[in-house]
Assembly symmetry: C2
Homo-oligomer: 398 residues x 2
């Protein structure tokens, strides 16, 4: 039907196998998967449909549109969804007399959930999102390959920043040029996020006071943005000499997202901002050494907080005062906000195959944001950077 590469069949079988293992261990009789990313991860296609995964036996994807494309792309059985009531009959037959039904409570809209749950009046709905996200956090070699391709794309952009940045260029023009370069390489142009109401265009390409403008975005850098309707990231502000220019950007290859930040300055940074940047680098070096299978997610964040305190930079870490984000890093993959979350309260262990963007940053109101970010793979020997640009500040002559 079409020439696009498909996710290998064995990959899908292995993912489904692991998910069914989880269902069995958790005493969940079957799960109804509805969100496009979860569907893609478990079937190999992102067509409009719902996937029923029994705790044992064959899963089935019920598709509304396009059945033809889903049949071609998916590595699971595909059936036409038909009318909603018919779907209900089919699902009930599959669930048999199951007692506990898994659903994605963090993304499935309430109204749609209620319609599905009416098919199973005897069943207890159970949230499977966190567990599926935990499974997705551990990447296969196929997934790591795609992430490494994405990292090459973002690296090319970092390399060409000196050609794009000069006084008089606006944040918007810089963002436009970065997006253009990425897009021609095959970047999707949309960075999927799972959290309700979160969205991202490219990342945070922002400078000086504009970068320090607080936002709703659940991350360390904010950004003035283009309007109150687009209140984050690049604005129309003109890049100026001596201010921190934060280039926090992502790229996407075959659905997989990599995240990286570098800092640029035209001329020289003020001393305290330069020092804060060096603290961010030290934090990165420190947690690079700590990050090994078995270490708790929160330990990296807590260690960073200690180092920040020693430097007296608590007010500035990951946003300013009331607008601080309370984490040090996040998993990346098919979504930008994957597990693990490096934050207090998460005592789960790092596992081999997890991929994490770690991004220590400091915000100085009216002056800017400084910091650095790499994406890392957790290997049995520790963290291995997937992004590979120089970690020095990119200094441009006046």
């Amino acid at each position: 039907m079409h020439p696009l590469p498909k996710i290998p069949k064995e990959e899908i079988e292995s993912r489904l196998g692991r998910f069914q293992d989880f269902l069995q261990q958790a005493g969940i009789d079957g799960a109804l998967i509805t969100q496009n990313i979860d569907l893609y991860y478990l079937t190999g296609t992102m067509q409009n449909g719902v996937l029923f995964v029994p705790s044992s036996g064959e899963p089935c994807l019920y598709v509304k549109k396009s059945v033809e494309r889903a049949k071609f792309e998916a590595s699971v059985a595909v059936e036409e969804m038909g009318r909603f009531k018919e779907l209900g009959e089919k699902l009930k037959a599959r669930f048999r007399n199951g007692k506990r039904l898994g659903i994605e409570m963090d993304v499935l809209p309430y109204g749609l959930a209620m319609r599905y749950l009416r098919f199973f009046p005897e069943a207890e709905p159970v949230d499977i999102s966190f567990s599926l996200r935990q499974q997705r956090a551990v990447k296969s070699s196929y997934e790591i390959e795609q992430l490494k391709e994405a990292a090459k794309m973002v690296h090319q952009v970092i390399e060409s920043l000196p050609k794009m940045i000069r006084p008089g260029v606006s944040e918007l023009e810089l963002a436009a040029n970065i997006e253009y370069q990425l897009r021609k390489m095959g970047n999707y142009g949309l960075y999927r996020m799972r959290a309700y109401n979160q969205e991202l265009v490219l990342g945070m390409v922002a400078s000086g006071a504009a970068a320090a403008t607080p936002t709703y975005f659940d991350g360390p850098a904010g950004g003035l943005g283009l309007s109150t309707a687009h209140p984050q990231g690049a604005s129309r502000k003109i890049l100026a000499v001596g201010e921190p220019i934060l280039v926090d950007i992502s790229s996407v290859w075959e659905g997989y997202i990599v995240d990286q930040t570098r800092l640029v300055v035209i001329g020289d940074l003020e001393k305290d901002l330069e020092q804060a940047y060096q603290v961010a680098r030290q934090i990165l070096k420190e947690v690079e050494q700590m990050g090994k299978p078995g270490v708790a997610w929160q330990d990296l964040y807590l260690r960073a907080c200690e180092m920040v305190k020693e430097e007296g930079l608590e007010k500035h870490f990951m946003g300013y005062c009331a607008d601080q984000a309370r984490f040090l890093g996040h998993g990346v993959g098919l979504e930008l906000d994957e597990l693990p979350v490096l934050a207090k309260g998460f005592d789960q262990p790092l596992e081999e195959g997890m991929v994490i963007a770690i991004e220590p940053k400091f915000t100085f109101p009216q002056r800017g944001v400084v910091g650095i970010e790499n994406t890392y793979l957790v290997t049995k020997n520790g963290l291995e950077a997937i992004t590979f640009a120089s970690e020095e500040i990119i200094r441009l002559d006046l």
Copy 2:
């Protein structure tokens, strides 16, 4: 705090007033608004928070991040959200002994809805989404101004298509160039959609067989896309002589989206495709005449279906056979998939101030998609096009 234009205070007051009128008429004691677009529409800010709107009295926006920015931008009272439990106490106090609580059932995730509803164990949840979307469908003069700005942006792109299109250029390169041009004008780069699992990058810039590849997207044109993880819109296919090149693109200004489609061909189209394009134009002319306040939304679709039948093009209309979309047009505004929907079953009347993208299209498997789209304002005298490019096929020399 920042120099971005704000939505006029009177505009927000009028929106809230209309929404409270609806709550009173529907016997709903208060509504909890959570989705970023609805929040922006009713408050003027898109910060992370929830808005409580009582059926009468002062609404209050409870903000998590950024309180400072929300206070600056919003035209309603803003309070710090605090911990989730504290939010519950505040909301309960506001709701008093209300019986019916409005929530956005089409977008609010199930898990979050359950957490909110636990604050109101006695209350009956009621879906307010459709009514709020009906209100939002009728645009104010402020909103129409923003939409007209967006239309100017997309018009500039249409004008420069002849410079961007030639044999050997890929769909991806063409999309990249269009996005780059729009972005430099201040385009946001993200086209918000309300429907679960729907997303869009730019639109459908697609040619020949690739354009006719069916997708999950709830629209007439599909597109091969870049991968099974990005299965719609522009692909790496090279533009060729004699095939239809569909340029279905959107632009965003101050959050407001306009949608337009034009058809390009290098050399000549085959006769039946050319004829189908002319039928699409005739449908557009016909519904342009019909579209007046008081006419049912579905009437425009049903009339189009009649005309399609007369031409024997039923199999090709709005997608091919099983993969047809069953509508002729959709409202646009802060979201791309607003009301009204021009589709069977919607007997609600058109109203002055509604803004609708009407997009008759025909899909020919292996050969391409032809069609046209304008965005219209419903005035008391009928439809007035907001998009204003020539409706002829854009014919380029070999």
